[in-house]
């Protein structure tokens, strides 16, 4: 298979730029990756890697924040649960003492 010439790829890319259709541009790069010249594949790989790293860093930051939030929620829920147990215990004692 003949590799897609760089100028031809540039012109195709300009078409996506004009339409602003990022999903279509991503699909094109994915579907035709094997047809690009080796140097384009190399540079594209680095760009994909960079994009993956940026997304992963953003997701990790968000997941970390959510995990902190989750741990705090579990601690708070445990405190509330203990308060309810205490309330139930007090209610039981009052009942036993006939002071309710």
């Amino acid at each position: 298979m003949e590799p897609i010439a760089t100028m031809s790829l540039y012109k195709t890319f300009l078409g996506f730029v004009e339409s602003g259709d990022e999903a279509a541009a991503r699909a094109y790069l994915t579907d035709h990756f094997a047809e690009f010249p080796e140097d384009v594949q190399e540079r594209l790989t680095l760009i994909f890697f960079e994009d993956a790293l940026r997304s992963r860093a953003a997701a990790t930051k968000e997941i970390g924040r959510m995990q902190q939030e989750g741990l705090q929620a579990l601690r708070d829920l445990a405190v509330e649960d203990r308060k309810l147990d205490d309330q139930a215990h007090i209610a039981d004692l009052k009942k036993q003492l006939g002071t309710e």
Partner: protein
């Protein structure tokens, strides 16, 4: 070059004492004798940003290297510093490159469907080699972009080295104390679906459902006061606490899941809805920047009109003029794109523009 190398050797102790502690530096003779390093070192001098950031004038260094036999003793330190800057940058690139292996590239690709596909097409070994090679180039040719990547990489490494294990440990401790067992039955059932399409859909739906529960829990202002409001009916309040504990526990369990398919879906759902995601320049912003081939020709013709005696120039001089125009054209484009933003589309556009420019033969 012998005099220069001898002088550098002589001054090495002084320069080393002044330099901050860091990775072992390559010898100047190594840089200058290895074609790959020599090319990169020259590129660093031409690009100039790394040297300017350290208060060095790239032009001065280029001049010194052009006439090494006349280098004054006072200039040796400048050369030594340029050598160190190069060495540091190569070492930074190596550090990141070492974190990308055949064994973990699939994991990183969970954050990029495009990278996943590229791995399918060329294999993990080839992709790893591509990335490692390109990182060394990028560190020199585009230090700003490289630094952004390094910051992301360092943040991830720090997270994996400390925070991740700490949060997991704390969660396991609370699970033990509170007898929480994350319910993974739905996820396990979905992962057993042999149809990849429905499996992905169901996985995303399940994750979305759990995220919805989670967000509902944390956006409710009365969350914890509710239990007290339930007042006399303690059992109802305890049931509600149990329901919420299980819901939070399930998503916490999911966030610690090591299955790549689950992580990929979770990352996509979370990143897709994360307003703090690093802003990237949208594709459409390049519309007024990138020239068509016709525009490139027109820009060349306009430039040519400013050259005196074009008609009488030799082919050699004309080629020099063409090279000069292409260099300036690329720099102008780099500045215009940089003014709009960064990201995947910006990087790809500049690369393609440069490639397209190289295939042109301006007349």
């Amino acid at each position: 070059m012998d005099i220069l190398e001898e002088s550098i050797k002589h001054d090495k102790e002084v320069a080393a004492a002044a330099a901050p502690a860091g990775p072992e530096q390559p010898k100047f003779s190594d840089i200058l004798n290895k074609p790959e390093d020599q090319t990169r070192f020259t590129k660093m001098l031409e690009q100039g940003d790394l040297l300017r950031a350290e208060g060095l004038d790239p032009g001065v260094i280029i001049d010194l290297l052009a006439q090494p036999e006349t280098v004054a003793p006072g200039d040796i330190a400048k050369l030594a510093r340029a050598q160190e800057i190069y060495g540091e940058q190569v070492a930074h690139a190596k550090e990141i490159a070492e974190t990308v292996t055949e064994g973990n590239i699939d994991d990183l690709a969970t954050s990029s469907p495009e990278l996943q596909n590229a791995i399918k097409v060329r294999g993990a070994k080839q992709m790893t080699a591509f990335i490692q090679k390109q990182l060394s180039e990028l560190a020199i040719s585009d230090p700003v972009r490289f630094e952004e990547m390094r910051t992301d990489q360092n943040a991830l490494a720090a997270w994996q080295a400390t925070e991740s294990a700490r949060l997991k440990g704390e969660f396991e401790k609370i699970c033990k104390q509170r007898h929480i067992e994350p319910d993974t039955s739905t996820i396990v059932r979905i992962l057993n679906d042999p149809n990849p399409h429905t499996r992905t859909q169901e996985l995303r739906a399940e994750i979305n459902s759990q995220l919805g529960f989670w967000r509902g829990l944390f956006t409710s202002e009365k969350t914890f006061k509710e239990f007290q409001a339930l007042g006399g009916d303690i059992q109802t309040a305890k049931t509600e606490i149990q329901r919420r504990t299980e819901g939070v526990g399930n998503l916490m369990g999911l966030m610690l899941e090591e299955n790549l398919e689950v992580r990929r879906a979770l990352m996509l759902e979370i990143v897709g809805k994360n307003p703090e995601r690093a802003p990237q320049m949208p594709l459409k912003d390049l519309y007024t920047i990138l020239p068509t081939e016709t525009q490139m020709d027109a820009d060349w013709q306009n430039h040519k009109m400013t050259i005196r005696n074009w008609g009488r120039m030799s082919e050699y001089d004309k080629d020099l003029e063409r090279a000069h125009f292409e260099e300036e054209y690329q720099e102008t484009m780099r500045q215009r794109v940089a003014a709009k933003g960064t990201g995947m589309w910006a990087a790809f556009a500049l690369f393609l523009f440069g490639g397209a420019l190289k295939t042109k033969r301006f007349k």
